[in-house]
Amino acid sequence: MVKSIIHLSHISKIYKTDVVETTALSDISFDIKKGEFVAIMGPSGSGKSTLMHIIGALDTPTTGSYVLDGEEVSKLTEDNLADIRNRKIGFIFQAFNLLPRRTTLQNVMLPMFYREATSSAYAISKEESEKIATKYLIMVGLENRLTHTSNQLSGGQMQRVAIARSLVNNPAILLADEPTGNIASNQAEEIMAIFQKLNNEGHTVVMITHESEIADHAKRIIHIRDGKLVSDEKNKKQKIAKLGIKQDTL
């Protein structure tokens, strides 16, 4: 049996203000195994963002247990969560979130800069991290864009920089939050192709989206509605995106 990378059991998240309690998630349980490509779908307000924050160790659940790559995450302190995020999770955001005015290379190196904060043994030299960053930028087809700053890149290119950035610390999962939400559709196809390629190489990919066309690229689709798990099934008609477009035009 393949090992579970993500194990969620009876996860609930309740936001409390002075006046009201809002239940964002109630009793969510599922497992994601190594090498899976999962799309989490749901309309806005369904709680999928809250779920993404919990899976991404950006937030902790009110009740329930979350084991990520063998480590119980749900009860950790803020600083320990930062360690988990640095080592185990590769984030890809809808708005890319690259540092403005920094070069592509510098942006991709950023997660490695904070490795030292986890433990000094885990730290790597600047030269080493430059080598790793370059390797992943070549992988996403941006070898000619190493010294460009983010304002010189298209949306698709920026998202590919973000994908390279998510990979550098060799995380347990890639967590993508609406990765194609801010880019043109032909470029979105390209991003999906990269995800499928990474998945074929053995990376576990979790993608949050509200577009079924995008979700169709995943191998498994989980539906969330009103904070509850509605369906969780294998995607029988997985769309295969083509890495066909000449990459410099992206």
Binding site: G56, D79, A82, N97, R101
Partner: protein, 407 residues
């Protein structure tokens, strides 16, 4: 996490955002620079006024005729006729006077002087040779009034530089030429160097003639306008004042000092008055400096608050990628320390430079006050670091998701 790495990262951030960094630094540079410059200008002015008064002569006492209090009526200054040549001679020779090193008998009145087609109204000083050393008069060209001139009632004159340019034109050499004072012709034998001053303090708009000539030929009077005394040292000024005072009281047959028909003014009195005036001036400048420090501080505070708030999303991203709270806070703290200290040093250089240029332009003493540098630097550095740290602390406390969503 090592500070060295954070310092490198901070320098990277600061150099990439040149405009933001430049603006933040400008506030600090101007804040510190203006305080240092203002205080130093104030002190340079005070210094200038003091040295001008010093140039009137050192350890100087002036005996003026006229009472300090003669009942209800007081004559116009200089109209009293109580000081005579004999009084001056007595001060010079009396054995009770041990603290006076020089005595200068003087007459001064304003008169119209004429040279060719030009004429001007100047102060005419009837003096003896000792006047030059007592009042620190130096010669630009020619010679000062000599004892022979005085003994021989010579019709010679020494001109102040202002008078030379008024009568003969700037830069011309009047030595050997003649001028007329109240109808009497005088030969110019020397020109004094400029002592500066303006208005009633103008020490260049004067001419000097022998005392005997002034008394017998020009003004026809036997009494003196005043007697200037030089005390042996600054410490015996009061003693000299007393010795001379008692001698003159005895000579004028007065027993009650309140009835004295003369007054003795020490140069210290003038200096004190001038000092209290300039200290008001310095207080004013310090007030302006304090206000500019406050304004500079608020400027620093604003720019630091804005830059950190603007970077909330960046902080969110850094946290999401694994930066711990204390790493974020340290990173921003290091940035603001670099910023304020670089800006502060530049401000100090600017302040000193402005003060130096001011002293060059005004030919005044170059004066730098260390306390003002320290206070300006410490205040700006504190403000800069505090308001770099506080918003960073606040942003680092946000959940990474909230910070990422921040618009």
């Amino acid at each position: 996490m090592k500070n060295v790495k954070l310092i490198t990262e901070a320098i990277g951030t600061l150099t990439i955002n040149k405009l933001r960094t430049g603006l933040a630094m400008l506030g600090i540079v101007i804040g510190i620079g203006s305080v240092i410059a203002l205080v130093s200008l104030g002190q340079a002015s005070q210094e200038a006024i003091q040295s001008q008064i010093q140039s009137l002569g050192a350890n100087l006492l002036t005996v003026n005729p006229g009472s300090q209090r003669t009942g209800a009526v007081r004559g116009a200054a200089g109209s009293e006729t109580t000081l005579t040549n004999a009084d001056a001679e007595a001060i010079k020779t009396d054995s009770a006077i041990t603290t006076v090193s020089a005595v200068s008998s003087e007459i001064n009145q304003r008169a119209q002087v004429v040279a060719g087609k030009n004429n001007t109204n100047v102060r005419v000083n009837g003096v003896t040779s000792i006047y030059a050393s007592v009042h620190k008069v130096t010669m630009d060209s020619g010679v000062f009034i000599t004892d022979q001139d005085d003994a021989g009632i010579a019709k010679v004159v020494v001109l102040g530089p202002q008078v030379v340019s008024d009568l003969f034109g700037e830069g011309s050499n009047p030595i050997g030429q003649n001028i007329r004072i109240k109808g009497t012709s005088f030969r110019v034998v020397g020109v004094a160097t400029s002592k500066g001053g303006s208005g009633f303090l103008n020490q260049d708009d004067v001419i000097y003639i022998p005392l005997s000539t002034a008394q017998k030929q020009v003004f026809g009077q036997t009494y003196l306008s005043n007697i200037s005394l030089e005390a042996k040292s600054a410490d015996v000024m009061t003693e000299a004042q007393n010795q001379v005072g008692y001698l003159l009281l005895a000579r004028h047959k007065l027993s009650d000092p309140t009835q004295a028909d003369f007054s003795i003014l020490s140069q210290q009195d003038i200096l004190n008055t001038a000092n209290s005036t300039t200290s008001t001036f310095t207080t004013l400048l310090s007030g302006i400096a304090a206000i500019s420090l406050v304004v500079g501080g608020i400027g620093i505070m604003n720019i630091m608050l804005v830059t950190v708030t603007e970077r909330t999303r960046e902080i969110g991203l850094r946290k999401a990628l694994g930066a711990k709270k204390n790493v974020i806070v340290r990173q921003f703290l290091i940035e603001s320390i670099i910023l304020t200290f670089t800006g502060g040093s530049m401000g100090i250089v600017l302040g000193i430079l402005v003060s130096y240029l001011y002293s060059l332009v005004n030919k005044s003493t170059f004066f730098i006050s260390t306390p003002s540098i320290l206070i300006a630097f410490v205040v700006s550095a504190l403000v800069g670091v505090l308001f770099g740290w506080y918003p960073a602390q606040r942003a680092a406390n946000l959940q990474p998701i909230e910070a990422l969503r921040y618009e």
